[in-house]
Amino acid sequence: MNILILTIVVVLYLFIIAYLGWYGYRKTKTTLDYLVAGRASHPFVMSLSYGATFISTSAIVGFGGAAALYGMGLLWLTFLNIFVGIVIAFIVFGKKTRKMGHNLDAHTFPELLGLRFQSSFIQWFSGLVIFLFMPLYSAAVLIGAARFIETTFAPQVNFNVAIMIYTLIICAYVLAGGLKGVMYTDALQGGIMFVGMAIMLIVTYVKLGGVSIAHQALTNITNLVPAKLVEQGHQGWTRMPQLGSPLWWSLVSTIVMGVGIGVLAQPQLAVRFMTVKSNKELNRALTIGGIFILMMTGVAFVVGALSNVYFVNNPAFGKISLAVAKGNIDSIIPTYINSTFPVWFVYLFMLTLLSAAMSTSSGQFHTLGTAIGRDFFEKGIWEGKKTKYTMLLTKLGIVIGVLVTVIISYNLPGNIIAIATAIFFGLCACTFLPTYIGACFIKEMTKAGAIASMLVGFFGNTFWLLFVHVKESEALGLCKFIFNVPTIAKYPWTVIDPIVIWLPLSFLTAIVVSLFTKKIPKEHIDFCFKHVVKER
C-alpha cells in the first residue's frame, strides 16, 4: 500500500465528485423542473450514468473472473448484455414501461405489475420475492468490491476487513443522501471506467503481441487446462465447452441465458425507464449505451480469458489464472489489474469501480426497502391503506437489507459472484418476465394468468435450485436433509439451469390460464395504454 499516492488519488477524486455533485445540483434542481422546463441533459451524460448503474463489480470482477475459467465463450453474455440488456430493453421495453408507469402512477416494479393487472397480491408477492432474494445479488456486488480492496491492499487488509470498509463507505454514502439524481457524478464514473477499460484492453493486447497473436497464444496453452475441467467438458479458452457437457450447461444456461435474459426483469433497472423525459432520450442514450457495455463486459471477458496467457508467460507467476488466484476466480481480475498497472492507476480504477458498485448497491438497497415497506406491508398486510409505518418499515427494510447482505457476504464461499448474480437474475426472469411482457404487450393477459405464471415461475425455480440443480442443492443441503442425496434428479437435469425449464413453463402457464379466465376490463386496459400507441 502506498499511502501518499492513495491519499492524493482519493482527495483529488472526492474533490472532483463533490464539485460535479454541486454543479449538477445547481444546474438541475429537481426532476420536475427538468421535466417541465424541458431542459435536455446531454444524452452521453445520461447514457454513461445508466451504464455506471447497470455495470458493477459483479460484472467486471465476478464475470471477468468467470471468463478466466470458461474462456471467451462468455462473450455470448456480452452479446446478450448489448442486444437484450440495451437495444431490446431500451427500444422495446423502456418506452412502454415509461408511459405505463406514469399512467398508473407506479413507483416500483411490483407496483407497476400489480396496478397493471389490478392485483394487490402481485404487488406484495413480488415485493416479498425481491426482499428475500435480492440480498444474494447485493452480496455479489459487495464481494466483488471487497475482493478488489483485499487484493489492492494485501497483506494489510484481508477479505473480512475489506467487507467492513466497503459497508462503512456505503452507509456513509446512503446517509449523505446517496447523491441521487446527480447524473454528472455517475457520468464521471462511467467516463473513467470507459477509459480504464480501454487502457486495460490495449495494454493487454500490446503486452501479448497483438489481437490475433494473443488469441493464438491462448489457444496454444489449451494443454494447461486442469484435468478436472477437461473431464467436465473444457476444450480450451478459445473454444466453447463440449456441447452438452456440465461446463457447457453451466456456461450457456446459467451464465449466458440466466443473466443475459434475466436483465429484462430486473426491478431496479425497469423503474429507471420511468425517470426518462421522453422516448427521444432513450433513442439518444442508445448511441453510447451499446458501446459502453461492449467496453465493460466485453473487455472484462476478453481480458479475463487472456489473463491466462499473461500469468503463464510471466515468470513471477508461471501458472494459469485459476492457480494464481488459488482457485478463487473472484480474485483473478483484481490480481491481474494489480500486477499489470502502475499503482496510481490501480487506486483510481479501484475508486471508480467502488463508486460504480455504490451506485448499484444503493439502487439495490433502495429497491429492497420499497419492496418491503411500500409493496409488501402497505399493499399486502395493510391492504393498501397509507400509514405512517410505511416509511419507517421502508427504512427498516434498507437497514435489514444491508445487514443480511453483509452476513451473506461473510458466509458465502469463493467463486460465488457470478453464480449468486445468475441465481437472482434467473429467478427474476422465471417469476417476473412473462408477467412483465404481458403487462407491456399482451392486452389479453388476465390477472389470473399473471398470478399463475408468477407462482409457477417462482416455486418451480426455487424447487429446482433446492432439489435438482446440483451446484445449489448440494450447497443448500435441504435435499440431503430430507432425501439423503445431494440431488433427486439424474444427469443432465442436475446441470441444466432452472431458467431453461421454468421460464417456458411460466410463459405457457400465463397463456393457458389467460385463455380460460376473466379478462381485464377494457377501460382499465385503455387507461394503462393511454398515449402509448402513438409513440415511436
Partner: protein, 60 residues
Amino acid sequence: MVMTVLGISDPSIWLVYLLCILSALFSLIYGLVNWNKGDEEVYPEDKKWVEDEKKVEETL
C-alpha cells in the same frame, strides 16, 4: 488446415466476438438515426408521477 479468424478457430467464438462489436455498432447507428425522433408532449400524468416520486424520495 483449420480456418481462423482473429487467431480463433472455433466459429462460435469468433462469430460472437464480431457479433458483440456489430450489436454495439447497431446500437450506435440506431441512436444516431433516431436522434431527433420520439419527442413528445408532457401530459398531466407525467407531471403527477414526477411529483409523487419526489415525495417518496424526500420522505426516504
